[in-house]
Amino acid sequence: MNESVHEKLKILSDAAKYDVSCASSGSSRGNTSKGIGNSLGCGICHSFTEDGRCVSLFKILMTNNCIYDCAYCINRRTNDRQRATFTAQEIVDLTIGFYRRNYIEGLFLSSGVIKSADYTMERMVLVAKKLRNEENFNGYIHLKAIPGASSELIQEAGIWADRLSVNMEIPTEPNLKKLAPEKNYPDIITPMGQIRDSILVAKEERKKYRKAPRFAPAGQSTQLIVGATPETDRQIILLSSGLYKKQNLKRVYFSGYLPVNSYDERLPAINRPPLVRENRLYQSDWLMRFYHFKAEEILSEDQPFLDLDVDPKLGFALRNMHLFPVDINRADYEMILRVPGVGVQSAQKIILARKHRRLNSLHLKKLGIVMKRAKYFITCNELPAHKADWEPQRLKHKLLCEMNSKYKKSLDTQLKLFADFKPVLPTLH
C-alpha cells in the first residue's frame, strides 16, 4: 500500500459516489471458523457523509476507464477525464484494512468496461474470489454484473457475492437504444433472468442439502435513471413492480438524472436533478414493499405522474376518501397501514395494544402517530370522524399549509443549491 493507491482511491471513490445502492442488508452469512467477518440480516451504517447518506459498504469502481459511450455517463470514453484502475489485490487490501477497523460492512464493486465485458467481469469476480478464498472474508460483497458478460462469469460471481445487480438505467428499450446505442436490452434482461433462476435453484438445493453452495443470497437489485428520458412515473412504477414480481428483485433504486454531459443533445436540457421526483418514487416503492400497495393504486392511467406536493400515501387517501375514516379500534392491519401519518411500526403497535384496551387519541399520539395528519382519516374512542366536511382538494390545501413551512423551506434551499450545480460523476451501467 502506497501513495499511488491513495491517488487511485480518490479518483475511483469520487467516480463511484452517484451509484445509489448502498444497503448491505438481506444476507446472513455466518463466520466460518477462524475467518473474518459476517453479514447480518440488517446492514449496519458505519458512517454518514455530509450529504446525510449512509456509508455501509466500501463503494468503489475498479476502473473508470470505459470503452462505451453512454450519453448519460461521465465515464464515457469521449469525456476527457483523469482515469485510474485498481489491481484486484489493491481492492482486497483496502477492503480488509477497512473491515478490520470496523469502518465498513463489506465491498460494493462496480466498474467501467475495459477491453470487453468478459475481461472486466473476470477481474471483478477475481476480487470477490480472493476475498473469500485467500482472506477468508465473510463480510458482505455486492458485485455489479457488467451487461454482456458471459453466463459462466455471472454464475461464478453469484457464488462469491451476496448480492448482484445489473443496472437497467433507462426504463424503456427505444430510449436505451437512443442514449446507449452500443448496449442492448437483452444484455440486461438475460443476466437478470439468469441470476433470478440461479438464486431460486440454489435456495431449493440448500433446502435439501445444507452444504449446497449459495448463490447471491441477498438477491439482486437494479437502478433506473429518472428524468433523462421522457418515461412517466406510472411507467417507471409499473416497471419496477414488474421487476419485483417477475425478476424477483430485492430492490429497485432510482437515481435522479444528473446533467453531466450537457453538450449531448440527446439529453434533456435541465440544470438540476429531479430530486423531489426521485423522492416521490422512493416513497411509492416503499408503499409497494412495506405497505402492501399495488402499483395501480399509486397512479392511474389518467394521472401518470406523481403529485410533487404530497407524498403518494396521502395522495392515495385524498383520491379515495370513501375508504376513510378508519376505525383504529376495529379496522384490519391493511387499512390501518393506509392511514396517512401511521407508519409500519405504529400500525403493528396499534394492533397489539388495542387487544388490551380501547385506544384513544392520546394513546395514538404517544405511539408516535402523526395526529396532525391522521386525524382527518381516523375515528377512535372519543375522536369523531373529521371527514364529512372535507372535500379532497380543500383538505389537501389545508394539510399543505399545515405541513410546517419549515419543511418546505429546507426543500427550497436544497433545490436552490442545484440551480447552479455543476455535477460530477454519475457512474452507471
Binding site: 500500500m1 491513495h6 473474518i36 477497512f98 478490520r100
Partner: protein, 257 residues
C-alpha cells in the same frame, strides 16, 4: 411506607423485588443506595444483593415474557432513568398477577415508557456497532476507546465476537472505566490501570500504533471525503444519524494531519 435501597446493580434490584414479595410489601420507591437522598421521613430498608434470589426473579420474568421481549426489562433498566425501578416493579406486579402479554399493552403509561426506555438502550447498543473504530497497535491489538451513554458494552460482545474471530480486540468504555477484551476465542472483562490512550477520544499513543495505522486512517478520510456529494450537503441529516458526541472517535471526522 418504605423505600428499598440497593447497590445499583440489576441483580441487586431483582433481589429487592424478591424481598418485597416475600415481605408482602409494596414499596414507595426502590432506588440506588448511592443516589441522592430524596426521602426524609420514610423508613428505608437496605437490601444486600443475593444472586440466588435475583436468579429466581429473573427466571420468573423469562417465563412470562414472549420471545423478542425477553430482555425488555433488563434493557429498560440499563437506561438508568430516575424512577425506572418502580416502573419495572409495577410492571412485574401486574405481570406476576397473571396479566397476559402485558408487554404489548402500549396504552398503559408504564408499559409504553419501559418499551421506549428499552428502545433507547438498544439504539445506543446499535451505535456501538456502528461507530466503534479500531486502531491497530504494534502488538497486533485492535483497540477502541469509546463512551456510550448507557452501559451497553456487554450487549455488543456477541456481535464483535462473531465478526472478528481472528483478531485480538479491546473495546473500552472510557467513562465506566472497563473494557471487553477478546483473544484466543475468549472474552474477558478488563480494567486498565496504565492508560496508553487519550481518555477523551480513545486515541492510542502515537508510538504504540502499528506502522500502517496512520495510512489506513488517511485512506479512510480520503474515501469519506470523495464519496460525499457536495451539492447535496445536508449537515442536519448527518448529525441526526451520527450525533456529534461520537465524532471525536471517528477518524473520518478528524482533520488530516
Amino acid at each position: 411506607m418504605k423505600i428499598y435501597t440497593y447497590d445499583s446493580t440489576f441483580e441487586g434490584f431483582l433481589t429487592c423485588v424478591f424481598d418485597c414479595y416475600s415481605r408482602k410489601d409494596f414499596p414507595v420507591d426502590i432506588c440506588s443506595r448511592y443516589g441522592e437522598q430524596r426521602y426524609l421521613f420514610v423508613e428505608s430498608i437496605d437490601i444486600a444483593t443475593n444472586p440466588q434470589k435475583a436468579e429466581r426473579v429473573w427466571k420468573g420474568i423469562q417465563k412470562h415474557l414472549s420471545g423478542k421481549n425477553k430482555q425488555l426489562l433488563f434493557y429498560a433498566y440499563l437506561s438508568e432513568e430516575l424512577g425506572i425501578e418502580m416502573k419495572i416493579y409495577r410492571f412485574l406486579r401486574r405481570m406476576f398477577s397473571g396479566h397476559l402479554n402485558l408487554e404489548t399493552d402500549y396504552g398503559d403509561p408504564d408499559v409504553l415508557h419501559l418499551t421506549q426506555a428499552s428502545q433507547k438502550v438498544k439504539k445506543e447498543a446499535m451505535r456501538m456497532m456502528q461507530f466503534v473504530r479500531f486502531q491497530r497497535t504494534k502488538d497486533r491489538m485492535y483497540f477502541c476507546g469509546i463512551e456510550p451513554k448507557y452501559d451497553v458494552i456487554p450487549l455488543i460482545i456477541n456481535h464483535y465476537q462473531k465478526r472478528f474471530t481472528d483478531q485480538r480486540w479491546l473495546i473500552y468504555d472510557l467513562r465506566r472505566n472497563y473494557g471487553i477484551l477478546y483473544g484466543n476465542d475468549k472474552v474477558e472483562e478488563v480494567v486498565l490501570t496504565k492508560k496508553q490512550f487519550n481518555a477523551y477520544n480513545g486515541q492510542v499513543k502515537e508510538e504504540l500504533l502499528h506502522e500502517g495505522e496512520d495510512f489506513y486512517q488517511k485512506l479512510w478520510r480520503s474515501y469519506f471525503k470523495h464519496i460525499t456529494i457536495e451539492e447535496r450537503k445536508n449537515l442536519k441529516l448527518q448529525r441526526q444519524h451520527m450525533p456529534r458526541r461520537f465524532w471525536r472517535y471517528l477518524p473520518e471526522k478528524q482533520e488530516a494531519n
